[in-house]
């Protein structure tokens, strides 16, 4: 009897060790079960951040076109791995592929679809107006060199505001995410100390503070702890009506995150666009008086030469449609559509996609 129980216990505990895969369940499998003949099925995998808008776009496009898209929101890193191994038709990532990653699979086009931004939220019950911060101050808070809310540097940015003599509790996201990438990219851009001590990444070594999982975890920790500060995606902050800080942008203006100020972050790139023809570029701390400084592109990763012309044409058609028609849908879901200058460049890039053994352009027809 005991032996039997014991054996069962052993087997189960081994099973338990490997159990619970965690948060990366494959996302929505879109479309109806029985597709009409002639329907092209595209598979994609990658970033979780644009998942809501991608599902909306793919479903809407599928209603009037014979294209079905299975997009699995497995995370940007997994998306890059899958497109590198060629197991999906397209990948998606919040952060552009690094040179080393691109060297392993040359000929991946980076196609920006929308812009996202990261809002800085805080828990200061006495505060009536939005908190104002600038990049170096935010970096100092997350480095642990500014520890009190009534520090002179914060007070200097918020004249006439009574700030409490309370400890600051920085909250960060520990699940590797594009949100963390953009946030640390911004801090690296504005603070040499941050760049040297911590750097930019989807997972970094945080000098101080508390780690929480996902937007909901960060929000929970910030809401529960007076004096806490955290960062979440704009869409999440808007939907949950969190207090968000106005950040000083490169032009010196204090800007609150919004769909408009996020689009504005890519609106005045000019010279930078010419320097980065592949669009693998950071738009944090961008020029422009209306630009919100913690913004970034999210990308589709598309092979510049595809085997199957049917798939290539369907994919390019879909992307062109999202650029032309998808803006309003994006705005409704709190994503920022691309400004015209970037859109033109993306359309040009798509003309370079070829397919089949003859390498014919996928755009034709």
């Amino acid at each position: 009897m005991t032996k039997r129980i014991w054996t069962a216990a052993l087997a189960l505990s081994i099973a338990a060790c490997g159990g619970d895969g965690g948060g990366s369940t494959p996302g929505a499998m879109k479309g109806s079960a029985g597709a009409a003949p002639g329907t092209v099925t595209l598979t994609g995998a990658g970033a979780t951040f644009p998942m809501p808008i991608y599902s909306k776009w793919f479903a809407t496009y599928g209603q009037s076109n014979p294209v079905r898209v299975n997009y699995a929101s497995v995370g940007s890193g997994a998306g890059i791995r899958q497109i590198t191994q060629g197991t999906v038709d397209f990948g998606a990532s919040d952060a552009p592929m690094t040179d080393a990653e691109l060297a392993r699979k040359p000929g991946i086009l980076h196609v920006p679809t929308v812009l996202g931004s990261v809002a800085v939220s805080y828990n200061l019950p006495g505060l009536r107006q939005p908190l104002r911060l600038d990049g170096p101050t935010l970096a100092a808070i997350y480095l642990g060199t500014i520890r009190k809310w009534n520090d002179a540097r914060i007070a200097g940015l918020n004249p006439g505001v009574a700030l409490p003599n309370a400890d600051i509790l920085p909250v960060y996201r520990t699940d590797g995410s594009g949100t963390t990438f953009v946030f640390t990219d911004y801090l690296s851009a504005v603070s040499p100390e941050w760049k040297q001590q911590v750097g930019t990444g989807k997972s970094v070594k945080w000098p101080t503070g508390l780690g929480a999982k996902g937007n909901e975890g960060v929000t929970g920790s910030v809401k529960q702890s007076e004096g806490a500060i955290g960062y979440v995606e704009l869409a999440y902050a808007t939907q949950n009506q969190l207090p968000v800080a106005a950040l000083r942008n490169a032009a010196g203006a204090f800007v609150q995150p919004s769909v408009e100020s996020t689009t504005a972050a890519a609106g005045d790139l000019g010279e930078q666009l010419r320097q980065h023809p592949d669009l693998r570029m950071s738009v944090v701390n961008a020029p422009g008086a209306q630009a919100y400084p913690v913004s970034s592109f999210t990308y589709l990763l598309i092979p510049s030469q595809m085997e199957d012309c049917g798939k290539a044409k369907a994919l390019i058609g879909l992307v062109r449609w999202t650029l032309a028609e998808g803006g309003d849908m994006a705005r409704q879901l709190h994503y920022a559509p691309l400004p015209d200058a970037v859109r033109t460049q993306v359309l040009q890039k798509l003309q370079g996609v070829t397919c089949g053994p003859q390498r014919q352009p996928a755009l034709a027809g």
Partner: protein
């Protein structure tokens, strides 16, 4: 004496199939149906070790760059910096063991006490619904535990346990040192305890119920009180099973991911206070794996998986030894 075919095979230096025959003797015997039966079941039996081997092989291969680069320093290193490419697993190993042991400390007395109450003391009309309710806890998905943990358990612990303890004993007793933010090793241990109680209590209850009736009656006939009967007769009889149940709970606690990730605070430090945040091996895998794209980072995560694998095997082996020794001493 005629050598049997097996012996003949051994004597002849072993034919290509002789080991198969020795491992699966029934392959040789009987009619076609019996052989098919033996081969099919043999294949089922082999499936699990083969699967085990391939998992080990795959994880080991993926972890190889990290093994090569850091060697044994990986286990004792405590710096985890994906940007700089430095990886050390000690904070995660510590966090996993600390939170699991804390969970056992809370859960074992609770679960065994519950099992004793249900089998020895409570009337049937109470025992059935309570047992059902406990087992229902096991059916709640761990992400629900995690969300409940972060929005209910953590604020409650902070206000009613951590902050009072930290302000009363924090200065003199490092285990209770502040500041108490709520998300902590303690919150992790508490949520794990709640999650493993159903497993431990369900198995313990079965074990206690399986103690033969004559053992109890003999004790009572000798004039033992109920307490003496439970404590001196029933429990010693059931101890190996209860240890097995505890290990089942420990295995679950070591591998638990979602719920603990949401409440433990996810800081790769080795805290000295119960109220400080920590990090577990399963949590760092869940957090960083999906977004990790550089090779060394992936390899480091894989090596953490390998270590978790190893710790689980170790824990199970030790437990098995323990059960075996206890059972032998009890003369069963």
């Amino acid at each position: 004496m005629q050598p049997t075919p097996e012996q003949a095979g051994v004597l002849a230096g072993g034919g290509p199939r002789s080991w198969v025959r020795r491992v699966f003797p029934s392959v040789r015997h009987g009619n076609l149906a019996d052989r098919a039966y033996a081969i099919t079941l043999g294949a089922f039996g082999a499936a699990i070790p083969i699967l085990f081997f391939f998992i080990l092989l795959r994880v080991g291969t993926a972890a190889w760059p990290a093994l090569q680069r850091f060697g044994g320093g990986f286990i004792v290193g405590s710096d985890w910096n994906p940007v700089a490419g430095n990886y050390g697993a000690l904070p995660f190993i510590f966090g996993t063991l600390a939170s699991s042991l804390l969970a056992l400390l809370i859960a074992v007395p609770l679960a065994v006490g519950l099992a004793i109450f249900l089998t020895e003391l409570s009337p049937r009309w109470i025992a059935a619904p309570v047992a059902f309710g406990t087992e229902l806890l096991a059916a709640i998905p761990s992400v629900v535990y995690g969300l409940w943990g972060i929005f209910v358990l953590v604020p409650w612990l902070r206000a009613n346990v951590q902050q009072p303890l930290a302000s009363a004993f924090g200065d003199s007793f490092p285990l209770f040192a502040g500041p108490a933010y709520g998300t902590s090793i303690m919150a992790g241990g508490a949520i794990l305890a709640i999650m493993i109680v159903p497993f431990i209590s369900a198995v313990s209850r079965e074990v206690l119920a399986a103690v033969p009736r004559d053992q109890r009656e003999a004790a009572l006939a000798l004039g033992a009180t109920r307490w003496e009967m439970t404590w001196q007769v029933v429990l010693p009889y059931a101890v190996p099973g209860i240890i097995g149940a505890t290990i089942l709970g420990l295995g679950r606690a070591l591998g638990e991911t979602m719920a603990i990730t949401m409440v433990i605070g996810n800081r790769p430090d080795i805290p000295t206070s119960l109220f400080a945040p920590g990090y577990t091996m399963a949590s760092v895998l869940a957090n960083e794996f999906s977004e990790a794209s550089d090779e060394l980072h992936l390899a480091a995560l894989m090596e953490i998986g390998l270590i978790l694998f190893g710790i689980t095997i170790l824990v199970n082996s030790v437990a098995r030894l323990l059960v075996w020794r206890v059972a032998r001493r009890a003369g069963k």
